[in-house]
Amino acid sequence: MRTPLFFLMWLGIAAVVFGLALSSGNDYVFFAGYVVLQYVVLSTAWNILGGYCGYVNFGSAAFFALGAYSTVAIYKFITENEFYRLPMPVLILIGGAVSGLVGFGMGYLTLRLRGAFFAIATLALAVVLQTLIVNWDFVGGSRGAYIVRPEEIAPIGPYIRYLFLCMLLLAVAAITIARLIEHSRLGYGFATIRDDELAAEAAGVPTLKLKLIATTISGALMGMAGAPFPYYIGYLQPASTFGLDYAVNSIAMPLIGGTTSWIGPLVGAILLGSLQQIATVTISSAVNLLIVGLLLVGFVIVAPNGIVGLVQTYLRRKPPEFVGRRHVETQSPETVP
């Protein structure tokens, strides 16, 4: 399927989802759905570097937080100077640009590192950025920052519906970008990096350049996911924005869904995100990470290639033409974090 058609199809699906949410007549659906969609974007973004290239990023929360804090910084600047309030899509683009830039910088500094060393470096980046934010009074420092969300926005109604719609469109954009990459020359290049970097260079693949592209796109999408967050949460503090939840979920969701295809993170995020939302209202939000941990252990043992891998294994019983071109039955230890 051609990309424009794929994009239109997902826009159609998004319209149906939004319509169903509206028809529920309950705004909690928007609150819960926003979180699930946010994870769709985060896990899709993580997968561009972690799944396609095999570079495990433990610093997802930092990129997400950068997007969120760029919104806070703009909000503070606007309220202090009584400027015109920027629309959410512009804030999302700014958040994406800031995180993309940091992603590029991180890539430039760390991409000669591989495996566990790269993962540790991304973790270190998260710690450094959190320390910077904690010490930056303008965005609230360790005390956090309050964002006053508008009650309503015309013609959609309650602001949460607008945030949900923004995140829905962002999720459509993220999976379209991920699919476009996967089926392009760039995607082939990313897959060679994941498989064997030395052989990739010998085949003429400019691995460093491709990795920089991956860190930039991945970082930008994570920042975009974070940009509307202050308006969603109302009160932003470093401890929760840089929290373990985002880092762990954005890794666990693609791993559970499957990392070699755009559909894996989508499936993983919807499954895990929905389960966590159900657990939050039925048990407690404290069990969210427990759910992730248990599912991750289960999948590593039963289906190391995730749900998509399970389906592909089933399809492999049919002639090879029916199988996705980049199916991996057993991943090498380097690609499994």
Binding site: T192, L198, A202, G204
Partner: protein
């Protein structure tokens, strides 16, 4: 005749260990060169320095009139330098056709030649046919036998349309008839104008293929000449058979 590959005074150290010691070598276009030496003599290190996987501290490498020093491995491939690996390194998540597609997309494409999707498919099929793997185009590398894996390595290197191909122990672990298969391939490639450096321990293969033989021992070049002459060289005999 001007040299396609000119190595001048090349040295490489790993800490205190001298892996290559002032190697100089000039290889004209169209050459069939055998590079031999005992294990640990520096053959693979030399290949890695030529191909850009390792960077030499001293000396220089010139390919097709251009200095390669400091150039990344992929740029050297774009210039026409291809290699196969001692241990096959296929792209395990891709089928055979896609393995061949990579150099077509990234190396041939980098030379400013735009290949349509149809042409790429056609070239993949042709290359796989040339190495006898056409029927397995949609198979994954894990389905291949050892000799097929070696052939895939060569086909992927050939897809880069190289001027110089370095086959690093492409016949290790193969049976006599399989060695013949690979040799036929290399000879055919050389007939098409590709310069070939063959690194090998199977002496019968090296002797039947090479027009020139270079011997490395402990990082030093100890002999360079016609295969028959080199094999009679007392220093080479000493290196292989001992005192």
């Amino acid at each position: 005749m001007s040299a396609l590959l000119a190595i001048d005074n090349l040295s490489k150290r790993f800490g205190g260990f001298v892996a290559l010691d002032k190697i100089s070598l000039s290889i004209p276009a169209g050459e069939r060169l055998g590079l031999i030496g005992p294990n640990g003599s520096g053959k693979s290190t030399l290949v890695n320095c030529i191909c850009g996987t390792l960077h030499n501290e001293q000396g220089s490498v010139e390919f097709d009139g251009r200095k390669l020093d400091g150039l990344d491995a992929h740029r050297r491939t774009h210039l026409g330098l291809a290699r196969s690996f001692q241990l096959p390194r296929p792209f395990v998540s891709m089928n055979l056709a896609d393995n061949i597609r990579i150099p077509l997309l990234y190396t041939v494409g980098a030379r400013g030649i735009h290949l349509s999707q149809h042409l790429i498919e056609e070239r993949c099929a042709t290359l796989l046919r040339e190495v006898g793997l056409e029927a397995k185009a949609r198979h994954m590398p894990r389905d291949l036998t050892q000799v097929e894996m070696r052939k895939l390595e060569l086909a992927r290197a050939m897809a880069a349309e190289p001027k110089l191909l370095i086959a690093d122990e492409a016949m290790a672990g193969l049976t006599h008839s399989e060695v013949e298969d690979i040799l036929t391939l290399l000879v055919r490639l050389n007939d098409q104008g590709v310069t070939v450096i063959l690194i090998e321990h199977i002496m019968s293969a090296v002797m039947s293929f090479s027009r020139r033989l270079v011997v490395l021992v402990s990082g030093k070049k100890i002999a360079d000449g016609k295969p028959e002459d080199v094999m009679r060289d007392p220093e080479v005999e000493r290196a292989y058979l001992g005192q």
